[in-house]
Amino acid sequence: MKPPSFKYHAPRSVEEAAGLLAEHGYDAKLLAGGQSLIPTMNFRLAQPAVLIDLNRIPELAYIHPAGDGGVRIGAMSRHVQVEKSDLIAQAAPLIHETMPLIAHPQIRNRGTFGGSIAHADPASELPAALLTLGGRVQARGAKGARWIEADEFFLGLFTTALQPDELLAEVRFPALPARAGFAAREVARRHGDYALVGVMALVGLDAGGACNLARLTYFSVGDGPTPAPQAAAALIGQRPTSEALAAAAELAASADIPEPVADIHATAAFRRHLIKALGKQALQQAFIRAGGAA
């Protein structure tokens, strides 16, 4: 099967791309790395009339430090560039540790950071990382640019707050606070495979050893990256004892995500169990890294 024909544009600047988007809007699809879009076109599940290829816009591929000690990633940065970036390793270590988990070289060489965020695949790691780290994205269109916070960006299954005439231009991560720790855990059929359930945790400790920051985000459990705000809130002010972590993870499963998805890989009951088990394991590791052994 081959994709049906369409009009192909390869703009050279964001401005040109934004102009094409303004002109074609709903009829157009943006082509970033193409690792998800082209297969769906090959299956004729997506049949855009106009394809706007962002791969020839050099101004969208960069990794720069942000003023606040964080990092700015141009949307068309390839996964492999993020993976190998020293700046990312230093300023966004959770991203640095996540990149090698993403598929294999063909996908990492071609797939883009912004594409993965904008695709909002509920099974993928990067949207969950964006939420966990409290990042934001810059959307650009003919009318200008605007910033969207991570927790307002993901709206549902493969759906984001981007408007049809906007493209995702940049992803920005803030610096980690002092005495912060993070961790990611996932379970797959085989070690290395797509997660049945995955979780990312970011925690912080105050001078007295009590938790002053907690974010917990699951993936592969719902329509998109799924935060567990009640579990996180329950940790604030607590010392990270084993009981406190278990209680938080329990809350994630009972209150935050009581009805995880069921699919061919796992039932809802099993996912509920994994939300608990992995949540606790991830929190434990994150607190150890923050310097407050659980």
């Binding site: 297969p39 394809l51 492999v80 070289p105 063909q106 060489n109 290395g192």
Partner: protein, 989 residues
Amino acid sequence: MQITININGIDKTITCQPHESLMRVLRREGYFSVRYGSETGETGAGAILLDGRLVASDVLLAAQAAGHRIETVEGLSEGVKLHPIQEAFMRTGAIQSGYATPAMVLAAKALLAMNPNPTEAEVRDAISGILDRETGYAKPVQAVFEAAAILRGEEPTRIEPKVMTPITLPLGGDEGWGESDWGGRSDPTPEFPGGGGGDVLTLRKALPKFVVAPEAQQLQVVGKSEIKVDALKLAKGNPAFVDDFEMRGMLHAKLLTSPHAHARILDIDDSAARALPGVHAVIHYKNIERVRYASGGQSYPNPKPWDQVSFDNKVRHVGDRVAAVAAETPEIAAEAIKRIAVTYEVLPAVFDENEAITGHAPVIHDEPDMADAYDAQRNISHFIHAAVGDVETGFAQADRIFEHTYRVHQVQQVPIEPHICIGYWDADERLVLRSSTQVPFHARRMVAPLLGLPVKRIRVIKPRIGGGFGAKQEMLIEDIVGHLVIASGKPVKLELNREEEFISSRTRHPQTITYKTGVNRDGRLVAMKMRVIGNTGAYATHGLTVQTVTGMRGLSTYNCPNKEFECWVAYTNIPVPGAYRGYGAPQALFALESHMEEIAAALGRDAVEFKRQNWVKVGDPLDIAPQLGEGEAEVGAAPTVLTSGLSECIAQGMQAIDWQRRYDPDWIAPPDRLHIRRGIGMAVCMHGSAIPGLDMGAASIKINDDGSFNLLVGATDLGTGSDTVLSQIAAEVLGVPLEDIVIYSSDTDFTPFDTGAYASSTTYISGTAVKKAAEELRQQIKQRAGLMLGLSDWADVVLRDRQAQAPDGRAVTLAAIALHSLHQDHQRQLMATASYVSPDSPPPFAGQFAEIEMDIQTGQVTVKKLAMAVDCGVAINPITASGQVEGGMTQALGYAHCEEMVYDESGRMLNAQIGPYKIYRADEMPELDVTLVQTLEPTGPFGAKAVAEIPKDGVAPAIASAIYNASGLRLRQIPFTPERVWRALHEMR
């Protein structure tokens, strides 16, 4: 649009459409090394380098490559000089079918350009996007290391076969290798020095007794790890596969398959499809003659019932054939398919084999011309029964009786090259089918009546094929291509897409297996009854014979005076199970080995010792075999085990896996990792070598002017290396190096008959045919040498080093003999033909071992190591033999651990793509450890037995055994997914 791409250093201006993938354009431009695997880029067979980085050309638009630099394998070699990576892949045995070898070579090139001295993890990551169903990745990883060393200017560390000291005592071993078996044959020099390759190859320093062929001590070619004869063209990515063949005006075929699991087709209206410009043929039940057949690629007469026709007015599974079109482009064909209007009457469906045969299920084969099923009204295609002694008497005598039920699921072979066939009328108006098949001769005979053509007007050619594993032991799509060629008058190509390969080709039979076994107080088995419900899906293609093998294998490993096999083969509405490497044995052995361990545990016995007490030994009869043979052939008396290295296999395997750890509580439950448990498990395996009395192979061999030989064989090399092994056998007999044998195989016009590549038969059966033909030719050559040298007696002439050497020291070269016989005196073509069919099927034996780690919180099982020690007789080529073991174990690992065809309630497969189906990648693999324990099988060529299938048999029960060791959990169902393990742990607590 017009684009310019720099391909292998040359700027090319190419005209293409915006929607065309780079793969399609590259192939059109003649870069055939870039190969189709799926629509998603997930197999990696289409990977190329873009500006030096590995990318999937099948999910990249050609337009996107404009202005960029592309590299394919065609650009790597300069004339005859190969790139060091290509050479390393050839030398290490990293190439089996070679379908995805170009992609792996490019992945290695990209890695080594950036990282000249990579770690193993880095190498595995670099090739992790290229799926390999054949090698288990062990040899490709080794190839990359060798190439890296060479590119750094170092001498590579080649892993040489390691000679292991036999562990079991040669005297008094329980295999029956008693004093007399070993007498006088403890030659200290290894007979089979081997080449580079397998991680560990055990070469026995002494051979068991039995008659040793005189030449066994002076083997020149057999037993050597020769480079595969087809490795060069595969390393270079030369056009060698079905799809690499172009013809002017070739049409593209496309199938319309059923969206329903069970439905009657009330009408088909194809007028809109026919009206589409560029459509040349539309075929379906209304315009194709109804001829009944069974599609399994088996000997004449194919087992009944013949429950298929090319196109029926009923569909019996999602993915079943409805219609096919041939059109000028793939796009037109796809559009035509959409325009075929089909009116279905949807019927209730049944998927479970146990429900299907109750008598209350929908009747799947209710067509009026259905005949020869055991009970079509109850969806039973066959009932199979076999018995030795009387189990009821045995149970009455037994001290303890145990009964357990096991369930094995459905998986697919997933050859990276899907089924593909090109058909055309040749200049003589004969139909040529160039097909990716394991059974070219069966396919020709079986397709003829469907097409209304005599066999003599059909020629089937098997070129290189990208894996088969049994899926291609079928006449699967050749009839459709033939019908479309006849209907259109034009060449036609049909290639299944990845989803069709899953649901419209063949799979492994699911089964429900119940063992009931009676045991004596002293641990001996006294009665064993095996009851199987086999699920043959919509058609019974291999339904009889797979289930027969299940009974044969399930009741042969252990001695027991009273045995009974009862089996119902059920029609259901799942996509059709057929042949898959192992052929009923992996199912049987998961149940058998698990059942034996459960009995041992209940008796408080060590499982290995309990099995050892009961397993068959040299001299024991395989008593149920005569009743569970295949086909019409009468096998006669029960065959006897003549060679077995089983005890040595178990000992070697225990050493390889460090078996004693399984008794250490601190190792099982590491104190510093509270939710982790570790375990080690094992399974005993026994397989067969070919179907006795039925499988037949033939070979012709003739001498050329320069003293080289053409070897013509019907045998079918799937990438297994059989062309190489057969050539080695011929070279050995004729006293020439391997390069002097020019082999041509699997072409029904030019090669003698062979049943095909299945049932672990090629080395044993076709190899013996080659040996016989070569021996006959050797006699002719010796006689000619006698004539030329004026010898009165030529019997003692010896062929060696491309010469015929007389006892008096004089010699003539084979070239001189060829010229003399072809041109000079008493001219004749020195040539010989021989065939072979065996009354025996000597069993290879093995011990398979697994080490696992399990997370008792999440249920995730991680397999850390698989070890296999196998007695395959003499390995003709140790490197290809160990490659078979590594690849087979890896497929078996997928079967045990993660691969699974999953359906919704309407019978639609939910994961019919590479990603969600879950095939092990290079970076997810456990360590693999292979030991070849060689015995000298007297009935096999140079002592060989089979090796291709036995690695499939023991992985699932070995992992089950390891899980039991780790946690006390006994799982009676595969695969061992996290959820299944977690639920079972939950229930156990």
